[in-house]
Amino acid sequence: MNTYDVMVIGSGFAGMAASLFAAKRGLSVAQAGGTGGIDFSTGFIDLMAVHPVAGQRVWEDPYAALAALRRDLPLHPYAHVTDDEIAAALGEFAAFLGDNGLCYTGRPGRNTLTLTSAGTVKPTYLLPCSAWGGVEALEAKAPTLLVDFHGLKGISARQIAEVRADWPELRTARVRFPGMGGELYPEHMAWSMADQARRIELAEAVRPLLGDARFVGFPAIFGMTDTMAVVRHMEELLGRRVFEIPTLPPSIAGPRLRAAFDRGLPVLGVRTYTQKLVSAAEVSDGLFHFTAGSGSTAVRIAARGAVLASGRFFGKGLKADRHAVREAVFDLPVSQPGKREDWHRAEFFDPRGHGINQAGLETDAALRPLGADGRPFHPRLHAAGAILAHQDWMRMKCGAGLAIATACKAVRDLNQNL
């Protein structure tokens, strides 16, 4: 049996980032994980935008927000990572995605407001390049045609136009997607867009509707692997700027991210066990011994160090019964509200957020989770991403950014101890 330098537990943003960073630093990496936030995400990489959440203050400069956050909430996991480390981690992550066919962009040091499938706008930091035209159209309130499709239910162009009353020159049209009928799925549509003939047919359906539009927005369906080539081709065919809006998940954003990692990580030598969860973990002879998967397909993996990036409840890193929240792999202590009454607020949209969403792992400054005695559970076990306590990524708008930044920090500190 091989002994790896690092076992990465989780294949969400934090797990993917940890594997990437560790492999790039020359470590041998095994990674196990199942479905998680990445499969449902919008593809936007948020860094930090809202603080304090109760006051709903939205920041244009994420680094200024981070400074305020570190001052006001010294236990927040971002308090353990410097601005420079964050910027470097995001840069490395985006470059990797770019190298693997997924172009990302953004404005250095500034959040960008982007359109969502609900018609709301949200601040984010890095966006798929295919969404950038939408940012420019929104900012200029330019004459824009928003197209949606008969049979595709995760997005309504008309809803977006209604909600965006501040954008009078936003028009909508619903067209038939060439060559497909009945209920449509973004992934099928994306694959079919690989065919140039399909793009020409689509452009022909849309061309008569263009009018004075300078931009044309579509649900995100422009190819799985080479989206920007499809976008450019559509721009050529239509003679207009073209952009994508992610549909309600599961959208194409998740599969695109997965595809980029599936392509890029093995090249870096990462051994991935997909759709396998770690079912047992032991420490002996200074090594971690993991069992991933169950039954006859279970595998045993030994590693000198580990990064726990198993997410929250939806990711399955945390589990709750009627009385308490537990960590699923090592049964690490979980910081949490005392009683279940305090887990959730009376109103779902309460701007203060729910108590349970700040629950998670306490760590030292090197992001090593603490054991029952208040000291690091193991000198070479680090944690990253949404499983960390004292953050609420949903309300603070720091989901993927926090995952990437803490993964980078965890790997760096682990590397010093190997």
Partner: protein, 537 residues
Amino acid sequence: MTTLHTRVLIIGAGATGAGLLRDLALRGVPALLIEQRDVNSGASGGNHGLLHSGARYVASDREAAMECREEGDILRRLAPQCIEDTGGLFVAVRGDDERYVADFPGLCAASSVPCRGLDLGTARAMEPSLSPDLVAAFAVQDGAVDPFMLSLDNIAQALSLGSSMRRNLAAQSMEVENGRIVRVLCRDITTGEDVRIEADLVLNAAGAWAARVASLAGARIGMLFSMGSLLITQDRIATRVINRLRKPSDADILVPGGTVSILGTTSIRVASPDGCRPSVAEADRIIDDARAMLPILERTRYIRAYAGVRPLVSLGPAGDDRAVSRGFALVDHAADGLENFITITGGKLTTYRLMAEKAADLACAKLGVAAPCRTRTEPLPASTLGQWTEPGKGPRTWVDSRTEDDLVLCECEMVSRGVIDSIIDESGAMRGRSMLKAIGMRSRVGKGPCQGGFCGQRVTGHLYDRGMVSGMQGLAELKTFTERRWRGFSPILWGVPLMQADLQEALYCGSMDLEFGPPPSTRDDEGACAPVAKEPA
């Protein structure tokens, strides 16, 4: 201001008001039924759905026990589409009061409530989830009733006979002249418009709100309010109704309904019928107590909680609300100097028909109508109004009559766009403040494991597409809908439901920033405890 004229005005579209509308229509007296929110938005939509055999009341209230037995028989015979004739068990476990157990068969006999002793092996073979600590078991004739279908079928027949109904129309004040109510002033909740109704006779069937409605005419009814909470399990745990064989108390009944079971209930005195909601503490208390009878209740998955308020017409100082007679109250307000005003309240879902009959008898006496009651003998025709709430009905229709363009908007419960469209079309001008909520009430949208996270947004998109909502309104209604569903989810968020809540917040707040933007479209409906369609499943 619009003025409506009617011979009889009925206030409140719960089971009682609906039954009254039908009873009068069958006697040749078409009436107007008004409802401040939606059909069954009061106790009739927030109850346990138990068709009582009467056995629960044999020790405390023999009259109620006999009424239940008789009415249960009538409903099983005349409204079979609304009843699941499951049969029921009464079971005691080690530690339960042995005296109560020993007296039970005799008390049943004294009330003519059929009851058959079972040996424990037979009982466990009938219901394998029963506790190994079982010490006694009896079989009774309990059943499950779909309260939503019951009300809608009553209303549908009455409408076919010339009666009418207005939803989202609230009675707000009354004008009394010379000992008569001459005008009832109402507000149209959809448009905010005032509507004046002139009627010869006013019937108050406002359930727990009946005292408030009576006070609009200056009449006083002493009323207590008792809130009860219930939990819905993901799977159906038992074939039959299972009652704890003890003095009626909390968490002692499990009622099956379609593919789920409903566990309850509690009894908490509340100051008003408005704003009730189930709590974490109640959910825990229900499970902690009921698992002695059915240990599986500790481990099973729950999908939602809900609550309703029992209107108990007070009979002087009372301790435990369950000891107050559930026998209903029929009040002729002639005694208060109001000749044309009747209140019918209290009672049970099981006895709704009897309550309607008695109230209609009195009404007809006042109107000089001699026609006798026909609901005791005539079948209740099944209508199409309530059909979408039936679990499985959506998918069947969708498969049968699917056009290529029909999409499944709610995947958990297989509700198609075509179904949503037919609800929108039926709803017409009485959409109320939230079309989405009205859809949630008439379909299974939002009732599946996704907790509304996906289907709520998809249906909202469709409402925009159809021009039913514009501007921020659709998002505001989506938030109202979400908050409404949240009341039921928040008490049971552990295990898988907590994962679902995590995903829903990731969607709504993490990726769509819906905690910003417009506030929910309405908060004033805090009163509706559980305006949920057929709660089973």
